[in-house]
C-alpha cells in the first residue's frame, strides 16, 4: 500500500533562483512514521537555513555531490548533514527517488552515522533494504 507523504512547497524558492526555474523535481516527506518525520524536520532546522537552501537547490537541480546528496543503492539516496545541538552529529537522511512526471524525492529515515568510512554499518544496510520496498503514489 502507498505510504503517506507531505509535499514540500518549493515553488517560491524555485522561482527565486534562475537555475531552478525549469526544475521538474519535487520534494516530499514520508509522513507514515511521525517520529521519523519530526526528527527529519528537527535535523533540517538544526542544520540551518543556509545549508537547507543549498541542499534543496542541489536536489531540485537534479544533481548529486558526495558530501551533500548522493546515490546509495538503486533509487535510494542519502542527504549528508551535520546537525544536533552543537552541529557535531553526522546525520544521514535516507530518501527514495521516484521518476514520474519529472522526479519526486521523498525524505524518509534519519540516521546518525557513527562508524568510520569503509566500515559497514548494518543499520544502514537494513534501512536501505526497507526503503527499497516502500511504495508511493503521486
Amino acid at each position: 500500500m502507498a505510504r503517506k507523504v507531505n509535499k514540500y512547497n518549493t515553488e517560491t524558492f524555485k522561482r527565486a533562483l534562475p537555475e531552478l526555474q525549469n526544475s521538474m523535481v519535487e520534494i516530499y516527506f514520508d509522513a507514515e512514521n511521525p517520529k521519523n518525520f519530526q526528527e527529519i524536520a528537527e535535523v533540517l532546522t538544526q542544520a540551518g537555513e543556509k545549508k537547507v537552501k543549498r541542499l534543496m537547490a542541489v536536489i531540485l537541480k537534479n544533481e548529486y555531490y558526495d558530501h551533500i546528496y548522493k546515490k546509495e543503492d538503486g533509487d535510494v539516496t542519502a542527504i549528508k548533514l551535520m546537525a544536533g545541538r552543537s552541529k557535531n552529529q553526522n546525520y544521514r537522511i535516507y530518501c527514495k527517488e521516484i521518476f514520474k512526471e519529472g522526479k519526486k524525492v521523498v525524505l524518509i529515515t534519519p540516521h546518525i552515522k557513527k562508524v568510520q568510512k569503509n566500515q559497514q554499518d548494518q543499520t544502514i544496510v537494513n534501512i536501505i533494504q526497507i526503503i527499497k520496498t516502500y511504495e508511493y503514489e503521486f
Binding site: T12, P34, F37, A41, T45, E49, R54, Y65, I68, K80
Partner: protein, 143 residues
C-alpha cells in the same frame, strides 16, 4: 495532513525564504562553487584519492577539504590552481549566454507601444511574454 504536520511543514518551508538579495547571491555563489566541486570529486575518484590525500597534496587540513566539498567554504582562484596541479588536470571554461527573458506584461498597457495591437487575437486582457533572441527581437503571444 494533521495540524501538527501542517505546522512542521510551515516551519520547513520558512527555511527556504530569502531575507535579502545578498542571501540569494550567496546561494548562487555556492551553487557555482559546487560545479567545481563536482569536477574535483570526479578527478579524485579517477585517481582513487581520499580527502586526506588531497589535503596532504595541498598542504592543508582534511577539515578544510570537507568544508570545500560541503560548500561551507568557497574556493578561490589560487586554490583552483593548486587543485589543478595536485590532481594533474585543467579546467575547461565554457560560457552560455542566457536568453533575456522579460516578465509577462498586460497588453492593454503595452500593446500600442510594442505594436502588438496589430497581432490577430490579441484581445483585451491578453498577456505577452517578450523574448529576445540573438538574431532579432521577437514578440510572442502566450495567452
Amino acid at each position: 495532513m494533521s495540524s501538527n504536520d501542517q505546522q512542521i511543514m510551515k516551519e520547513l518551508e520558512s527555511l527556504l525564504n530569502f531575507g535579502t538579495e545578498n542571501d540569494k547571491l550567496e546561494l548562487e555563489a555556492e551553487l557555482l562553487h559546487l560545479k567545481f566541486v563536482g569536477v574535483i570529486e570526479e578527478m579524485m575518484a579517477q585517481e582513487d584519492l581520499t580527502k586526506a590525500d588531497l589535503a596532504a597534496k595541498l598542504s592543508t587540513s582534511k577539515s578544510y577539504i570537507t568544508q570545500l566539498f560541503t560548500g561551507d567554504k568557497l574556493l578561490n582562484i589560487k586554490t583552483l590552481v593548486k587543485l589543478q596541479r595536485a590532481l594533474n588536470f585543467s579546467f575547461r571554461i565554457e560560457a552560455e549566454r542566457k536568453k533575456p527573458l522579460f516578465e509577462a506584461v498586460i497588453c492593454d498597457k503595452f500593446k500600442k507601444h510594442f505594436g502588438l495591437d496589430l497581432v490577430k487575437g490579441a484581445g483585451e486582457g491578453s498577456r505577452y511574454r517578450l523574448e529576445n533572441t540573438s538574431e532579432k527581437s521577437q514578440r510572442k503571444l502566450i495567452a
